[in-house]
Point group: C2
Chain length 345, copies 2
């Protein structure tokens, strides 16, 4: 894979804005008592070295529209804290084993304390915005809370679909079901909220914000599909999660939905049976069978093609949204993101 | 037990303000899709018929200081939504079996969807306040969020202590440890926040709010001890939770801490052993042994006496805080609460 100029810029800005956000996060994650029961747990995921895509999108967008770093850092911190809160709960809900190259928090601390640390982080995500009241004004802070409120509902609905489909072993799903779930579960927090908060802080009229949904959706959906692909074909060291973990967890990925569509009746029956029991009762042989059948039916290639299409649509939306704005690093960052999300390893 | 005039008033006001709050809650808990995966789950606990003590304290306090019902209902709804969010997560953390006379949500829907419904409710608790912005003004709404922010931290710290002590099988705890845990885990959300938000909406100067901590602490700690007592000696039908569930869960109640203090070295060793394994490995015989040893050492009576003392201290604090205010039902309600919390069955 050739690394494009855009790809280099994306990594540079992720590093730069990621470091900025991480440094600001320390203020909100103090080392105090009870440490081993709460504060150390809350600070664990945020400092494991994620990509920091969410805060970086927020910061870049705000700067494009004229904000200073200090204007947007509260929103960037809030988004990252909330993201980590939900990662903790997701990992418990999914019974995930690894996160960013280490055991998931519930494996280290037990599920009860991990759930509580997630609750703490979720509320803590409001604090940077609350304390930005003097700088940004009460109205702006409340507008940002309204955005969080919308996002939280969308995210909970998307997560409910994802978990409910698995619990009830629904498998005859359509691509549109998948995309609706991803729009809600992934895109609102990963891309749409960062774009919208960035634009708000940068002084855009709130009425404009609906325009960011489509760009965020295409970008975020491409991101999620690539994430699911890396789960199947990625490099474990780099990926930081258990490979094929999604199959163990029975996650309704695009590849699994496609597999079920293409499979013959006998295979469908077997797929249902493989996915029916809880994770710990699935066998390595059955997971490998699923994985191989995906190759037989070209599910990986199919998903790659859709991710590509979505990334292309995101670039098109970018032009409509940002095409008239003056050139600059932040603009190039957003422009280069769609390609980066589908090429990253 | 004789029912006092104050006890009757408390029940009347709980009924009245509870009904008011429950009716207002319907607006925030719509029946929409995905219903069985999210909205029905989120609306389950709130409509199981809790006592509604938290919103009632908030409404009564606000009215004492001159607020109208519509001024305080957003805060009352927010408090009740948040309380139910944390109940869902608590029940998972504690592996509780029953809540308000029915199976806990994780037993009905599975832990993953229950965790997600709790997350949804926690964020939803902000919405009534956000949407009260026109009526109450941006400044007031932000002040209330600051109160929630403080409460959320205290609650998470208290919950962390409660869960951490159990996970690590700490048992040599002192009464002051217990009271600090209860102040954080129970009182901030159960009494202190409702008092403070009520006073805020009623127009009290924010600087006054610290005064409510002590009254809320005495009242809330008496409430928690009585709750723990009912778990051991209550009427199951009325109580709505599994009797002796706290012993099964290894909860560090005042009675258990007292038991360990009074027990001889052999008994201490045995208590440690009984509490060491996870819930599902505890036996009915060992739980009954713990329960009987509590009678041997008078732990129930000891806890009753402390709850009594705390309720008396709450009445004293009430006089200091509210003694100069004009008479009325709301004032009598708050005055009668300390006795009610320790006499309720």
């Amino acid at each position: 894979m050739t690394v494009t100029r855009g790809g280099i810029l994306v990594r540079e800005l992720l590093d730069e804005y990621g470091a900025l956000t991480r440094s600001a996060l320390r203020r909100w994650l103090p080392q105090q008592q009870p440490r081993s029961y709460l504060y150390d747990l809350a600070a664990d995921y945020p400092f494991r070295g994620g990509r920091m895509m969410r805060p970086s999108i927020c910061i870049a967008t705000a700067k494009i529209f004229g904000a200073a770093n200090d204007d947007v850092l509260p929103a960037a911190c809030g988004i990252e804290l909330l993201h980590n809160a939900l990662l903790i709960h997701d990992d418990i809900e999914d019974e995930s084993q690894e996160r960013r190259g280490r055991p998931t928090l519930q494996r280290l601390a037990g599920a009860p304390l991990a759930i509580n640390a997630g609750d703490f982080l979720a509320f803590l995500s409001l604090r940077p915005l609350l304390q930005a009241r003097e700088r940004l004004g009460a109205r702006m802070v409340l507008r940002m809370f309204e955005e969080l409120d919308r996002m939280a509902q969308e995210t909970a609905e998307g997560q409910a679909l994802d978990l409910g489909w698995r619990r009830d072993n629904l498998i005859q799903l359509r691509e549109t079901d998948y995309l609706e779930m991803v729009l809600k579960k992934t895109c609102w927090l990963a891309t749409i909220l960062p774009l919208r908060l960035g634009a708000l802080v940068g002084g855009r009229d709130p009425l404009d914000l609906e325009h960011f949904v489509r760009f965020g959706f295409f970008l975020g959906a491409a991101f999620q599909i690539q994430d699911d692909l890396l789960n199947l074909v990625g490099d474990h060291q780099h990926y930081g999660k258990e490979l094929s973990g999604d199959l163990w967890e029975g996650k309704r990925t695009l590849m699994l939905i496609r597999l079920f569509e293409r499979a013959n009746p006998d295979e469908r029956e077997r797929i249902r049976e493989v996915l029916a029991p809880p994770r710990e009762q699935r066998t390595s042989a059955s997971v490998q069978w699923l994985r191989k059948l995906m190759d037989v039916y070209g599910c990986i290639e199919y998903a790659r093609a859709l991710a590509h299409g979505l990334a292309g649509a995101a670039v098109h939306e970018f032009e409509l949204l940002f095409g008239d704005l003056p050139d600059g690093r932040d603009l190039h960052f957003l422009e280069s993101l769609p390609r980066w999300v589908i090429e990253r390893a």
